[in-house]
């Protein structure tokens, strides 16, 4: 009882002519969706986890401040440091940094600037609250603590 013919005479090979197209499609997807990292991060960054995440609506309004223990402990010591762009700054320079970032924006949007704080979990609150006080003085009142999503344990 051969309901299924053994050989239908058709070619058994899968045509691979479209493979480059598929790969190119993947390539373009990654090229478009990913962003090249523009700064070298000089501090340890182990981002804490949280559940109540909000997404930034407009990326152009965001500036980043990195806080953590320097990766190069011999050169910079093991105290947590503040990094913006490619350099370490002291907390007194935060106002200046906010103002240069604000100058890059349109005048109407300057008050909506969002400072994204990427802080290492090992850091203590002292330095974080110092930055917050400086941000208040600089009138950059929207702060985003960058966190990863915590997957529920249960």
């Amino acid at each position: 009882m051969s309901k299924f013919k053994k050989s239908s005479g058709t070619s058994q090979e899968i045509p691979t002519a479209a493979l480059p197209d598929i790969i190119f499609m993947l390539l373009f997807f990654f090229m478009v969706t990913t962003v090249m990292r523009e700064t070298d991060i000089l501090v340890n960054q182990k981002i804490p986890k949280a559940t109540q995440l909000t997404k930034i609506e407009r990326k152009s309004l965001v500036s980043y401040i990195y806080v953590g223990e320097p990766k190069n402990v011999i050169l910079f010591g093991s105290e947590p440091k503040i990094q913006v762009n490619d350099v370490f700054i002291t907390k007194e320079d935060v106002i200046g940094f906010v103002n240069t970032e604000k100058d890059k924006l349109d005048e109407v949007e300057r008050d909506q600037i969002t400072m994204s704080l990427k802080v290492d979990v090992e850091v203590k609150m002292g330095i974080v609250s110092d930055i917050q006080q400086e941000l208040r003085k600089a009138n950059a009142l929207k702060v985003l603590y960058t966190t990863m999503r915590r997957i529920a344990e249960d």
């Binding site: 691979t16 493979l19 480059p20 790969i23 190119f24 993947l26 390539l27 990654f30 090229m31 969706t33 990913t34 962003v35 090249m36 990292r37 981002i47 804490p48 986890k49 949280a50 559940t51 109540q52 995440l53 909000t54 997404k55 930034i56 990326k59 965001v62 969002t114 994204s116 802080v119 290492d120 979990v121 090992e122 850091v123 203590k124 609150m125 002292g126 974080v128 609250s129 917050q132 006080q133 941000l135 208040r136 003085k137 009138n139 009142l141 929207k142 702060v143 985003l144 603590y145 960058t146 966190t147 990863m148 999503r149």
Partner: protein, 212 residues
Amino acid sequence: MSRGKNKKPPEVNSGSMADIAFLLLIFFLVTTTIANDKGLLLRLPPPPDPNQEQLDIKIPDRAIFTILANSKDQLLVEGEPFDGTMDELKDEVKKFILNFGNPTTEGVRIYNTLPSKMKAFVTANGRNPESSDDPTNLKAIVSFKSARGTSYDLYIGALDAMNAAYNEIYAERVGITAEEWLTLDRDSDLQRDLYERGRDGIPRAISIAEPD
């Protein structure tokens, strides 16, 4: 007729095209990082105005839910040591916000907009005269104060718990889950309406005090 016209046009061998594309793909996969732009949003209070005299608004103790953290990451919640999980802290905050101890007319209006399940929650856990009067402006403030030596991890955990309490209340009020609440898109009219109904009258009053 010349002989050349009978020749087939020369073809470029495109068999290795996939390999070249793979190489490029792997290069981009390795060199790029997907930007992580999610996190906990906090609005800082405006800086004190030196020309203006400090207004001393009296807020009764029962309207403030105080969470204190010391440098050893121990918590003091409403004056008592707290060693539960962040989930339990969230439930405490929720009970505080939905206390309705002595609601004003605005508070009564908000109470009446709550779904019956939340009304039952208020009757079961709330109505404590020593907790918040109602969730309207300045009547229920959740305050967190850390020491300089508190770990950032604990701070994020507490901030997350406080935000979770509010988000759960908002979500439950409009009958969706907390996850759905967080993904509401405010550009769509329908979802913005849900968002505004959820938040109506219950401002997110989270206050982060400066460490000593």
